[in-house]
Amino acid sequence: MTTTPDQPESTEPAPETPPVEASTASTAGPPPRRRLMRSRDDEMIAGVAGGIAEYFDLDPVLVRVAFVVLALVTSGTAIVAYIIAWIVMPEAGAGDSAARAAGTAEPRAPRRSTGAAAGIVWGVILISVGTMVLLSRLDITLPEWNAVLSGGLILLGVLIIFEARRGLNGGLVTLAVALSVILGAAAFVDFKFNSGFGDRQVVVTRAADLEDSYSHAFGSMTVDLRNLEATEGQTKVSVSVAFGDITVRLPEGVPYRINANSAFGSVDAPEFDADGIAVERSYRSEGYDQATRRVEIDVSVAFGSARVR
């Protein structure tokens, strides 16, 4: 490099191109695009809620509560949405918020270890649900799934105690909470998980064909009693639903009594609505007590909805 008498002036940084600006020239232009990613720093199960909270700058607890409420209100559909989000949302790196804001990639820190317990539990859950649906579709008599699920809750509790050596395992606790609420609601309305899945329609015209109870775990079911020829005395039937929706068509011309029982769901009947937490309602149509032929219907809802028409 040659020197000139003007060199001292030329070494002065030009106001238009200061060194700092030159070093960051590659990041100039449009701001880095924010990406929706699963959080690794704030995760209870898979970091979906934590990632959404970071993306929208919300409190992650609020997002989790919203997920739980949505899961209850939508009869479990939000759980499917969570699993889909788990699959499609990429996982962020450690310290992801700052990295994403700066548009720079940082090497990943070692992931917080939650042990193999969560993976085992999720595997058992998926296998159990798949087995339940498969056996139901094949019309194979199901075992006592309420007992199996209760055993699963005990297993979760034992795993949480085991994991206490390393702290509180949020993923296991979330699963245990969800399972506790499901089992509690099912027990409250005396629902058995041995029942069906998908859509089902039952039309009964003869009292002899009427089963003692009809129950449905997921999906929709219709029990049509409109043309039921009731026999002398009282005909009784129980209808229950866990997460789906169920419709009961009342027998025409026959006095009836409805006993509605809702844990977290809703019952929509001609004379009343029953929704909320642990609600019990009963209604007798006109002339029920004096009728020689009458029908009593128990309607139980754990999380779904029932319509009686």
Partner: protein, 62 residues
């Protein structure tokens, strides 16, 4: 996070779920008949205790 220390709050949380599981199991097998109108709020109380245990753990951890 202090991964190496045993936390009694987490153990209590696990114990609560074990007890709940036993209650549900005995009912499902017909070994006992529980009053679920009392048990359902009991579940909520137990879950609240578990939540407090978790919160205390995180507060200690912070």
């Amino acid at each position: 996070m202090s991964d190496q220390s045993f936390h009694p709050g987490a153990a209590l949380t696990g114990l609560i779920f074990v007890v709940l599981g036993v209650l549900f199991l005995t009912d499902a097998l017909g070994a006992a008949e529980w009053r679920y109108d009392l048990l359902l709020p009991g579940v909520l109380i137990a879950l609240g205790v578990a939540a407090i245990a978790g919160a205390l753990w995180r507060a200690r951890d912070a």
